[in-house]
């Protein structure tokens, strides 16, 4: 009698793989538009050609640039003008502390942001100056000298005070770049920062009310409340997150989410932090997985050897 088992196995495996390919890789490639990554090159933005002078930049940021009217720079002793909730109620969102902006954001992006915020952020569909829709961040129109040079100086200043790229942790990158609009409940992060431990429920609820007030202002500004990102690493895939962070419009045309302008390194760290929140045990899964696979192969080999021994008598 001919042994048909290899043929049967081939048929079963072939149909299984065909079905898998159709419902998984193929179906998902049809359902989701593929967006190529540009590797955070921001090719639409003009490069910063001038070499900046940080000292002059500091003078501009603190003085003629009027940045500190809205932004805190705690590293250089400039505190925020108002608390986060009032700031959100005035501007829509709490303007960021610029202490580490130089490490998180791309230099080209920062330069463009200073000159033309709506363009840098890719929110011109929301803020069209011609229609009187002004972006809450006032553009810098120059302090009288060479404007390109002045902008380069300011960027150089921001880079000079920021932490070095290798000191920027995934958590910091996330909080800087995403954390004023997005909460991350599983990491205890609210738009106001990490929620402290309160002994009394009343204090905890008071904090929650502050968060709700901030969120109310934010929702009014953005059209809807930006989602909590705790599980976004699982609900979206890594490629989607990366290209979305690079340019939200590419995946979701018309979205109110601005381009964040983060560097490739910061984007990578943001995604790592999202993985820490949504796929916390991935390292354990890898290592346990390897051990189990080794064991189960040994199990299968011993099962095979036993079968061979038992069946020796049968034919």
């Amino acid at each position: 009698m001919k042994n048909k088992e290899p043929l049967i196995l081939v048929v079963v495996v072939a149909f299984t793989l065909l079905t898998y390919w159709l419902v998984e890789p193929y179906a998902h490639s049809v359902m989701h538009k593929h967006v190529e990554s540009q590797n955070f090159a921001y090719a639409d933005l003009a490069p910063v050609t001038k070499t900046g002078d940080a000292a002059n930049g500091k003078a501009l940021v603190m003085g003629a640039g009027a940045c500190t009217g809205c932004h805190a720079i705690t590293k250089d002793g400039v505190a925020a003008g108002m608390d986060a909730v009032s700031a959100a109620q005035s501007y829509g969102v709490n303007p960021p502390d610029l202490s580490n902006a130089g490490a998180v954001y791309d230099a080209k992006f920062l330069a463009e942001l200073i000159k033309n915020p709506a363009h840098a952020l890719k929110v011109e569909h929301k803020f069209d100056a011609a229609k009187g829709q002004m972006h809450p961040m006032v553009p810098f129109f120059g302090a009288g000298g060479d404007m390109e040079q002045e902008v380069a100086d300011m960027v150089a200043y921001l880079q000079s005070i920021a932490v070095k790229a290798d000191e920027l942790t995934p958590k910091m990158a996330f909080e800087e770049a995403c954390g004023r609009c997005h909460s991350m409940k599983y990491e205890n992060w609210t738009q106001l920062g990490t929620k402290p431990e309160f002994k009394f429920e009343k204090e905890s609820l008071a904090y929650d009310i502050q968060v709700l007030e901030y969120q109310e202002a934010l929702a009014k500004y953005m059209g809807k409340l930006p989602p909590d990102l705790s599980m976004y690493f699982r609900s979206r895939n890594e490629h989607f997150l990366s290209t979305f962070i690079e340019n939200p419009q590419s995946q979701l045309a018309g979205t109110a989410m601005p381009r964040t302008g983060v560097t490739a390194d910061a984007a990578h760290k943001v995604i790592e932090h999202m993985a820490d929140a949504g796929d916390t045990k991935r390292a354990e899964r890898e290592s346990v997985g390897k051990m189990v696979m080794i064991y189960i192969v040994i199990f299968a080999i011993f099962a095979l050897l036993w079968k061979k021994q038992v069946w020796r008598d049968l034919h």
């Binding site: 149909f15 419902v23 699982r234 080999i301 011993f302």
Partner: protein
């Protein structure tokens, strides 16, 4: 009352009270299995093992899961996935096993169809098997509700709406099933109950029936040969193991069962650790939102073929087609009019019917997942019609089949 003597050993003590030796004979060493079978006959054992994996992993998930619309998502994605030691492992095993169990069920079913194992006294095996398929489907669906993500909610919405039966407008029935106007707390708690108690009880009972149905007609074999189990087993017991056409279940066939299980588990655990995405849909990692339907909504892969039979038609015809697809497999032993219980390859036109049905169901599965637009809609419609036509044609194809 039976007469008991002083036991000579623990085994003897148990024997007098529980007849363990007799049980062992009936269940294993003198439960005779034909030798002429291939690894497809091990699917039953694989299903038993997979069910055991579902049960064990389910027990540990149950220890931390909270059936509350406010806490369910958190208890799954935070408590179980982050806080509980090895919680992620139980969830991955549970999710992957729930998906893979259907792959094996389909292989098991199509093996039965191919070898004609639903005929000549094996009808009850087929029927109890199909009942198991239905209860496993209900079990899978109710379990899918529990993480209370977007897919849970919207699958719950859509599937329960089927019970309004289209033009009949049984809206009261839908609300009765849900216990609310929409899937909400009452819905979640009752599906939780179904998932962890009522349906598993039904499944255990049906597994018992399925095994019992196998005792009298015995397991079929690769050639549909009628074996005299009485004579062949005597031959085996007399020492002619090689010449006998049968073997013991334990340990002869069991050793092969476990060998196949071993190979299967390599595949299974690879999926659990390294490729689980197909069984844990990304969309279900967004918490349920009753005011926003996901852009793409589709059932798990094993429901796609019947979903696609529903989809291309207008609501009433679609529901009739769907109902047809749900019951038609059950009737297979009577729709197949041929007396031949042999492999499909030796049955003329039935051979083509078999492969066409298999391919048609794979096409339906693929179209069920793809967005219902353009050419996919057309292919889906053709495949759905093809499914219905194949089953209507079955009695006519098999009626005139030559006796082999």
């Amino acid at each position: 009352m039976a007469h008991f003597t002083k036991a000579t050993s623990v085994k003897d003590w148990l024997n007098q009270r529980l007849a363990v030796e007799k049980v062992e004979k009936v269940m294993a060493s003198e439960y005779w299995i034909p030798k002429n079978i291939n690894f497809l006959w091990a699917m039953g054992m694989i299903l038993a093992i997979t069910f055991a994996l579902l049960l064990v992993s389910g027990i540990f998930l149950l220890m931390y899961y909270q059936p509350d619309v406010k806490d369910a998502f958190y208890s799954v994605n935070y408590t179980i996935m982050r806080d509980v030691d090895f919680g992620w492992l139980w969830r991955n095993i549970h999710g992957v096993a729930a998906s893979v169990v259907f792959l094996i069920i389909y292989i098991h079913m199509f093996t039965g169809i191919y070898y004609g194992s639903y005929k000549k006294g094996r009808e009850m095996i087929w029927i109890s098997g199909m009942l198991l398929f239905v209860t496993f489907s209900a079990e899978a669906f109710s379990g899918y509700m529990l993480p209370w993500g977007q897919m849970s909610y919207w699958a719950g919405m859509v599937i329960t709406n089927i019970f309004s039966l289209g033009g009949l407008h049984f809206d009261g029935l839908v609300e009765w099933i849900r216990g609310d106007y929409v899937p909400a707390q009452a819905f979640l708690t009752r599906f939780f109950m179904l998932h962890i108690l009522l349906l598993p009880l039904a499944i255990l009972g049906l597994i018992g029936l399925h095994f019992a149905a196998l005792r009298i007609p015995h397991v079929n074999n690769q050639d549909g040969e009628e074996i005299d189990f009485e004579a062949e087993s005597k031959k085996y017991l007399a020492g002619d193991k090689v010449g006998s056409k049968v073997m013991r279940f334990g340990n002869d066939f069991l050793s092969k069962d476990l060998m196949v299980v071993g190979i299967y588990l390599v595949f299974f655990f690879y999926l659990v650790f390294f490729n689980y995405g197909f069984a844990l849909d990304p969309v279900n990692f967004d918490p349920a939102d009753g005011l926003k339907t996901p852009a793409h909504i589709y059932p798990e892969w094993y429901f796609l073929w019947s979903y696609e039979i529903l989809r291309p038609f207008s609501v009433n015809i679609g529901l009739m087609a769907f109902g047809f697809a749900q019951v038609i497999f059950m009737l297979l032993p009577w729709l197949d009019r041929s007396p031949n219980a042999v492999p499909a390859s030796r049955r003329g036109a039935f051979k083509f019917w078999y492969w066409l049905l298999l391919i048609d169901m794979i096409v339906l599965t693929a179209m069920g997942k793809l967005p219902p637009e353009g050419v996919f809609s057309t292919i889906g419609l053709v495949a759905a019609l093809g499914f219905i036509i194949l089953w209507i044609a079955l009695p006519f194809i098999t009626m005139n089949e030559k006796k082999v």
